[in-house]
Amino acid sequence: MRISPDDVVLFEYGIVKLNLTIATTWALMLFMVIGSACITRKLVIATKIPKWQSILEMIVIGIKRQIEEVGLYKAEQYIGFLGTLFLFLLLSNLLTILPFYEPPTSSLSTTAALAIAVFFAVPVFNITEHGILSYLKSYVKPLPIMLPFHIISEFSRTLALAVRLFGNMMSGVMILGILLTITPFIFPIVMTAFGLLTGSVQAYIFTILASVFIAAAAHESEKEIEN
């Protein structure tokens, strides 16, 4: 039994390997980019707007509100990164209802890449917002003795972010595979429905945690500026 779609190699040429994870990720990205480009090509400002535009507006406003609730009040700055994360994860987790589809999030490489993106996004956002000095000073808050713990927590939370999403999605796929061999008819459907719930909750949690990390560092820097 294989534990990730990385092992399915579709195409190999020298060191260039195209596995199922990359193929699915690119397919999802193409779908999202082309879909949103088609919808946003002609936007209307009127009392009666097209159906798809109103759906997209609802999604964007919903994400913006969630980001603001975490404490990032200039949500427009962050929605590009956090919203993309959320929509990609949500789409890739929800499409598990399609037959023969394996979510790219059930491979550790995808989730590790996303977690590393979050790892770098936290300092980038904070340095552009507050300057490098106040960001660095947030590491020695409240006492300089906390410095190693802050650094360890940066790495451990990145690892936790990656493994949490990977574990949840992989366990869903795995349990489904095991159930299909034991009770082939009704029960896998129930577990698929449950997998949809976990998938969307995990997408939400990944995004919320990323915004919480950004917001936490931002608050530390803001306190520094006030002092």
Binding site: A160, R164, N168, I205, I208
Partner: protein, 93 residues
């Protein structure tokens, strides 16, 4: 028992133990979290949406402990580095 048997047996046993022991803590923790969330919803039904959202996030954080155990046991069962090492050693030597 030769070395291969010992490594296989210990890996399988440890995978089982990892799941068994590792799911005790998260189960108790999730139970406590749900109990206090239900109590707060019963006391303040207006705040139900906020409580539910926080509950879900918290549950997923607690659950991730169990998920780590699951990942470790899956690695021991399907991608065991020690097993692979021994197998390549045997095949090579």
């Amino acid at each position: 028992m030769d070395n291969i048997t010992i490594i296989g047996a210990v890996s399988i046993l440890t995978a089982g133990l990892t799941m068994a022991i590792g799911s005790i803590g998260p189960a108790l923790g999730e139970g406590k979290a749900v109990v206090s969330a239900l109590t707060s919803i019963a006391q303040q039904p207006d705040a139900a949406s906020t409580i539910t959202r926080t509950l879900f996030v918290g549950l997923a954080m607690i659950e991730s402990m169990a998920i780590y155990c699951f990942v470790v046991s899956m690695i021991l069962l399907f991608a065991n580095p020690f097993w692979n090492f021994v197998i390549t050693k045997v095949a090579g030597g």
